[in-house]
Each structure stands twice: as C-alpha cells, then as structure tokens.
Symmetry: C2
Subunit: 273 residues, 2 copies
C-alpha cells in the first residue's frame, strides 16, 4: 500500500479546529498549504454567507463539502416541513459557497420507532434531491456509527446509504464514507465496491483504544486501530479521487493551537492515509 505523494487532496474539516473561526481556519489552511476546506453551517452563519465565500476564495481554497443537511425525522408534519425548509437553505448555501456536496446527517428518530424514522429519511431525501440537483449540489448520505443511532442518525451502515443512493442518479445522491463510522463493518469492502461511482466524500480520523468519549473521542490518524490506508485504497479502487477530509471531534485536539494541529495532520496524512 502506497502513501499519498502530496497534499493536493487534503481537506481540513473545520470541526477539527473548532476554536478557529472560518477566517482563522481558511488562513490556517493557506499557511499550511492545505488546499481544501470543509465548512460547517454554524461557522458560515457566524461569518456571514457572502463573507465566508469571499474569505475562502481569497485564501485560495476549494470547499470540499458543507456540513450538514439532514435531520429529517420529526414527530410532527409541521416540524418535518421546517426541517425541509432548512435543508433547502443548506443546499442554497452549498451552491453559494461553491461546493457540489452537501453532507447529510440524516437524524435520529423522534420516538422508539426507528423503522418509521428511516422512512422519513427516505421521504426527506426524495423531496430534497430534485431541489439540490437544480442547484448543482449533490446530496452525500453519511452513514453514522451505530452508537449514534439514537441521537444523530438512523442511517448506520454503508449498505443503508447505498440502498438509498441507488434510487437516484450519481449526480443527485451519493455516499460519504467516514472511516470512524464504518471501520468495524464486516460488510465494509463489499459496500465500498457497491458504492462505486457514487462516493462523494472520504473522511479520516481514528478510533482510539480505550475510547475516551462517544462523541469527543475521535483520534488523529495513526493514534487508533482503523486500517485507514486499506479503506482509502478501496475507495480509490472504486473511482474516488476527490478531497480527503480530516474530521476530528476531540477536546484535546481542539485545545491545541490550530497551526500545530494542521502540521500534525499533514504528517499523519502522509504516514497513515
């Protein structure tokens, strides 16, 4: 297995440097020679949409994705409509920011009926996809680790994400593969093959042992047990040559100076991705 030769595909998912504003992150990427950035909507809102676009462009960066749309299931029809309105705004923001990928974190169930919540996800994506397509934005379904099934997303395997995505053309709906969420899956490599032509994003971090926290316990690449390079090569073998986002929720990493995090991230990217 071969390391990546340069940083042309490296993207900072800005949650990795959560204490940085969008401007800090964009300027940090420019200093570090990281050519891509993945933006979060609340950070974009803090900076303002047009200003965010300008900051990123002035820093010479490309936007790998916008995080996030989704959160489709809700207890009432009114609330579900409100979520759809917000999803349309997310599509508009993605288009304005110049990325073709809106990452979908599909949302938890409002009650105990996980099957019904999954049906609401299906419906939400069906409604959103044509709107997104008209604006040149693809919907990237990101399956989340099963430990987030009750609180963040009822789409918990790449098989599920593939099954939904296959109802659409590849320029409408695809999948986003984050090693942290899928590494444990005994069906992983078969599902990566199945996703061929529909892979819209690839995210890296690591699974630390022992895991310090369910949400904030992700590690820097190389600090855990995930076969990151093997997964990256499987994704590449199925045609994905786009940006590779480093997305790490980890308090200890957030507490470090952003420039140090980017330096470490580049080092580990070479060694482990």
């Amino acid at each position: 297995m071969e390391p990546l030769k340069d940083f042309r595909r490296l993207s900072l998912n800005q949650i990795t440097t959560d204490r940085w504003s969008l401007r800090d992150a964009a300027e940090g990427c420019a200093r570090a020679g990281v050519p891509w950035i993945a933006l979060w909507r609340h950070k974009v809102a803090d900076a303002g949409l047009s200003e965010s676009r300008r900051i990123v462009r002035d820093a010479g960066l490309k936007v790998s994705s916008l995080c996030r749309g989704g959160m489709f299931p809700a207890a009432t029809a009114a609330e579900r409509r409100a979520r759809m309105d917000d999803n349309r705004r997310a599509v508009d923001e993605a288009a304005e920011l110049g990325t073709d990928t809106l990452v979908l974190v599909c949302g938890p169930a409002p009650d105990r009926d996980i099957a019904a919540a999954r049906a609401m996800v299906d419906e939400g994506i069906a409604e959103l996809a044509p709107y997104a397509r008209e604006r040149g934005v693809k919907l990237g379904i990101e399956p989340l680790h099963p430990m987030y099934a009750a609180e963040r997303s009822v789409v918990n395997t790449l098989a599920q994400a593939n099954e939904i995505a296959e109802r659409y053309t590849p320029d409408e709906v695809g999948v986003v593969i984050d090693v942290f969420h899928v590494w444990w899956d005994p069906d992983l490599y078969r599902q990566i093959d199945r996703a061929r032509g529909r892979i819209l994003g690839f995210h890296v971090s690591d699974w630390i042992v022992p895991t310090p926290d369910m949400l904030m316990g992700r590690g820097m690449m190389g600090d855990g047990v995930i076969e990151i390079r093997r997964i990256r090569e499987a994704v590449a073998a199925n045609g994905y040559a786009g940006p590779i986002e480093v997305e790490i929720f980890n308090r200890a990493i957030w507490d470090r100076p952003g420039d140090d995090v980017l330096a470490l991230m580049k080092e580990r990217y070479r060694q482990h991705v």
Copy 2:
C-alpha cells in the same frame, strides 16, 4: 403486542446486581420469585464452582447461561492456545453448573487487522465446538454493539453471528440476541428470522438517551428507545421460548439495593418486554 403473563421466563443476569455475591444474587432471586439466573465466571470463581452449583440448586433456580467464553484473537499462537484452554474450562464450568449455554464474547483484535481477528474467532469456535458438544454445552455467539469492536468483540452484527453458527448443527453453536447490541441494525428482523432454531438466549436492557457512558450506560427496560417488545416477539416468532435475561451494566443501578433492582426489573419486564 402482548405482555408476558408471568415471570416464568425471567432471568437475572448477575451483572445487573454486580455488588451482590453469587449467594446474594441466588437468594435475592428466590425471594423475588425470579426462577432463572445467569452466572458470570468471576463470581463463580469467588464462590467456588461446586459451592456455586449447590447455592443455585438450594435456591431452587435454573441457570440460563454462563458468561462468558470467547476472547479468541491474540497476537501469538501461545496466547491463543492459552485462551483455548480457558475456553475449555468455561465449557466444563457451564456443564458443572447445569446450564447448556456458554455465552461467547468473541474478543477484540490484537492489532489493526480486524479481518484477521475475525478469522481467529472462526478458528477458535471450530476448535471449541466439538469439545462443548461432548459435554452437552452449546456455544452462544453474542454479537456485540459495533462500539465495542475495538475492545470487546469483532463479532458486531447478528448477520456475522448467524454466518458462523450456520456452519454447525443447532445443538453445537447458536446465537445470543441482546437488544442493547442489535437494536440499531437495519437488517435486524431479517437476521432474527434467519436465526430461527439457533437462538440460544435473549437479553434485555435499554438504550438511554443521551447515553451516559459507552460501557456503563445501559438502562432498565423502558428507560430508553429500544423497541424491546417488538424484538422479543420477533424472537418468539422464530421459536425461542427460553429464559429472558436482564443484563444491565449501569453504575446507578449497581448502587441501588439488589432487592429494589429486582422489584423494578419485574415491573419493567411486564411493561416493556
């Protein structure tokens, strides 16, 4: 969906009252009219094997299962052999204690190669099954939640457990279904159907939201989001009529008097199982 009419199938998995010794737990079950108990090997070791058998018999209880065999993957052949020796002892203990089910928690990988660890699990079960069969003990493969893939077991879905079990006759190897580990699985009901005739145990607890802790965050039935009754009925529809173990790792529950826990467990069993 119908509640269970009585407590004839109720079993206390003794980890639920972790502060109790085996004798405390057996006497507690007798007082509460709980007819089954699931034993843990370290508790049996504390009391002594023959004495444990006598205590359980004197309390008029039946043993639903022994926890646990497994932990097959290891870095060296010598260590794997040591694990097999321990597994044979676990089978002997199960036979001595009068249960026909040894629960297998299959173990994590010794390194990053999860596929190799899964192969070690296959080999370990293949070696153990004939030994167990000769002693009238079935091996119950319990898939563990994917969040335990790095630290406890590389068998993380019922599909995986079924696939292994199907290599054997139903009186050799089967599966143990714990709602906490499998509730999120989009393939759950199909895999329960597939497990027909091979279901060796059924464990209940709940998934609390927000989840306070990865290991110690299980809830009492009814305190979380799992559709326990729906899963119980699917298991019943596939022929399982055996004991239903309440297995809860939760510090707050451990801190309560055992008799209170058993009373609450009975109430919730009627309401939610």
